[in-house]
């Protein structure tokens, strides 16, 4: 082999080795979570949207899911993750949330799980949501290396809704709202400065409705519709998410309340949406 050929071979080999070294170096910079994300097969790759998804992550609609950790102990697999909104408002919460999950093993078995509305962090120093999904009843023979894929198969989408209803002002009158909430006019109290109307609220047992400590659904409000009402708005007290009764109060400006009253109900409907997004793949065994 001539001298020039040997030099050329060296240059090519050196270039390949240098490139490989750089590639390995970059790979080492990525976290374990990012490796989980990179294993995704059906979701948007982080590399496609680096400006919008810094640090990796898997985007579905306007929510970015960052895998954090996978643990397996006593037949329970726990997949921890963080959620951040795609946008950049300070303190903004994601408006599309995962609900139904599936864990697949190397043998082809699938384990389903569901997550309630996550708690939101309020300090603004980290991802607004950190949560985990638990897959239970895995056989003792299943090890970490057998966990090959975690996917979200059902989501909830926030839809702000405001409706106005009309109901009799007779004590005991009830009306059922679009989301199953029932309000009942419990008492009316005449005062010199007007009339107080106390309403009972019955919320169906749905964790995606309202929970006391959950900012995702806390902003449900009632207010009087049209002129004549004194109080601006009343917010439903906490219901714990398991259904139950609570109430709100409005004030009418006169002693005599019209036979028919209008009430405005503002809420966020967390609408279900089926879509499969793999959020953890082969790297789960790492």
């Amino acid at each position: 082999m001539s001298l020039m050929v040997r030099i050329l071979v060296g240059v090519v080999a050196g270039g390949l080795l240098g490139g490989a070294g750089l590639w390995l170096g970059n790979a080492a910079e990525t976290s374990g979570a990012a490796q989980l994300a990179a294993a995704s097969t059906t979701s948007a790759a982080a590399a496609d949207e680096p400006e919008w998804i810094p640090g990796g992550g898997i985007r579905f609609a306007s929510t970015v899911l960052h895998p954090a950790a996978m643990a397996l102990e006593d037949g329970v697999a726990e997949f921890a993750y963080e959620l951040v909104p795609l946008g950049a408002r300070s303190g903004e919460l994601p408006v599309v949330l995962p609900e139904e999950w599936v864990l697949r093993t190397r043998s082809g078995d699938a384990y389903m799980a569901a997550t309630p509305p996550p708690q939101a962090r309020s300090d603004g120093t980290a991802a607004p949501v950190a949560a985990a999904v638990r897959f239970t009843d895995l056989p003792a023979t299943v090890g970490r290396v057998d966990l090959v894929e975690v996917a979200v198969v059902g989501w909830r989408v926030a839809v702000p809704v405001e409706t106005e209803l009309e109901m009799p002002s007779r004590t005991g009158s009830s009306v059922r709202l679009h989301d199953g909430t029932t309000i009942t006019l419990a008492t009316t109290i005449e005062q010199d400065s007007g009339t107080i109307l106390d309403f009972d609220v019955t919320v169906p047992p749905d964790v995606w409705r309202e929970t006391e400590q959950n900012p995702f659904g806390r902003s449900n409000t009632f207010r009087g519709g049209g002129p004549g009402w004194l109080s601006a708005a009343s917010t439903i007290a906490g219901t714990g998410g398991g259904g139950g009764s609570t109430g709100f109060q409005l004030r009418w400006s006169e002693r005599t309340v019209p036979a028919s009253i209008r009430i405005v109900y503002t809420t966020v409907a967390w609408a279900p949406l089926d879509a499969t997004v793999v959020v953890g793949g082969e790297a789960l065994d790492g």
Partner: protein
């Protein structure tokens, strides 16, 4: 004299000897050179990318004050339509409630921006149905805890199906405040052309009529100098010789109500007597009224952003 063999011997490197160690030195040298070229090129490219990112970031922050130059070089994520240099949007879902269709539109704000004033809390939209009917939005509903989504409200299109959602006008809020003290005879209880409050920028709010009773009242207002208008909150304090007798306030402002409808240049607000505001009837002995107003003016920005909504999920709870 040396013969040819001897000359060749001088030129020949010891490394050229077959079977000698180090005969691949040109390969090693080439590998070193090749490696340096790759690493060097990568370093230069990375520093260029960093500079580009820094430039983009600088331009973004500068845009907070409304500058838009240089923001288009980082596209919004796939699936989003650019509404402005700062905001992009994407319809996510729709539900029918109470004879209305609520189309949930997720919004994205560019990193580095303060989102205040650049949201889609108000605007004018149209919806083309599957039968070709063109519906005009009646309101935009939002939730203060979830600023990343708004619902655009249309009349229920029935079974027509959805084709195209279009934003044709975007509104941005501009808060103004002002006050004026007016001498009155409290016993009158009602006054026409009561006050004219300068809100700055050529905008004036006139309280064209005020009625006060023991329990509450109404205030009629009119805006000039604001073509699109907005919504107004009114606060009135009744005084007698410098002492407060009682105060009145309008219940809600425009964006507190969260349902943003067509803004107006005139309107009526209902006033509530504040609790603990003095003995009832005090207003009758008032000698002057402090009229304070808070206006949320809307500025309109033309837009032409279309979204294909043929595949949008439409649910009926």
């Amino acid at each position: 004299m040396a013969d040819g063999t001897g000359f060749s011997e001088i030129l020949r490197s010891p490394l050229d000897e077959p079977g000698r160690p180090g005969v691949w030195w040109p390969v090693l040298a080439g590998m070193i050179v090749g490696g340096l070229v790759v690493v060097g090129g990568y370093t230069v490219a990375r520093s260029d990318a960093g500079a580009a990112a820094s430039t983009s970031s600088t331009a973004t922050v500068a845009g907070q004050s409304g500058a838009t130059t240089g923001l288009g070089d980082v596209p919004f994520p796939p699936g989003y339509e650019t509404v402005s240099d700062v905001v992009a949007a994407r319809p996510e879902y729709a539900i029918k409630v109470g004879g209305e269709l609520f189309v949930a539109v997720a919004t994205v704000i560019r990193r580095g921006f303060d989102a205040s004033g650049v949201t889609l809390d108000g605007g004018s939209w149209t919806l083309e149905t599957g039968t070709g009917e063109l519906l005009t939005s009646t309101a935009v509903v939002s939730d203060p805890l979830l600023p990343g989504v708004v619902s655009v409200v249309f009349p229920d299109p029935g079974d027509a199906g959805l084709e195209r959602l279009r934003l044709i006008e975007r509104w941005e809020p501009d808060g103004r405040e002002g006050s004026e003290t007016v001498a009155v005879d409290g016993a009158a209880g009602e006054w026409d052309e009561l006050a004219s409050v300068d809100l700055g920028g050529g905008v004036t709010l006139e309280v064209t009529r005020l009625e006060l009773t023991e329990r509450g009242g109404i205030a009629e207002w009119s805006l000039t100098g604001s073509p699109l208008g907005g919504d107004v909150a009114v606060f009135v304090t009744a005084r007698r010789e410098g002492q407060d007798l009682g105060s009145y306030f309008s219940s809600t402002g425009f964006f507190l109500q969260r349902r943003v409808v067509r803004p107006a240049t005139e309107g009526v607000v209902v006033l509530t007597r504040a609790e603990g505001g003095g003995e009832l009837g005090d207003v009758a002995v008032a000698t002057d009224l402090l009229v304070e107003v808070s206006a949320t003016l809307l500025t309109s920005f033309p837009a032409d952003v279309a979204f294909d909504v043929t595949g949008l999920v439409v649910a009926t709870p």
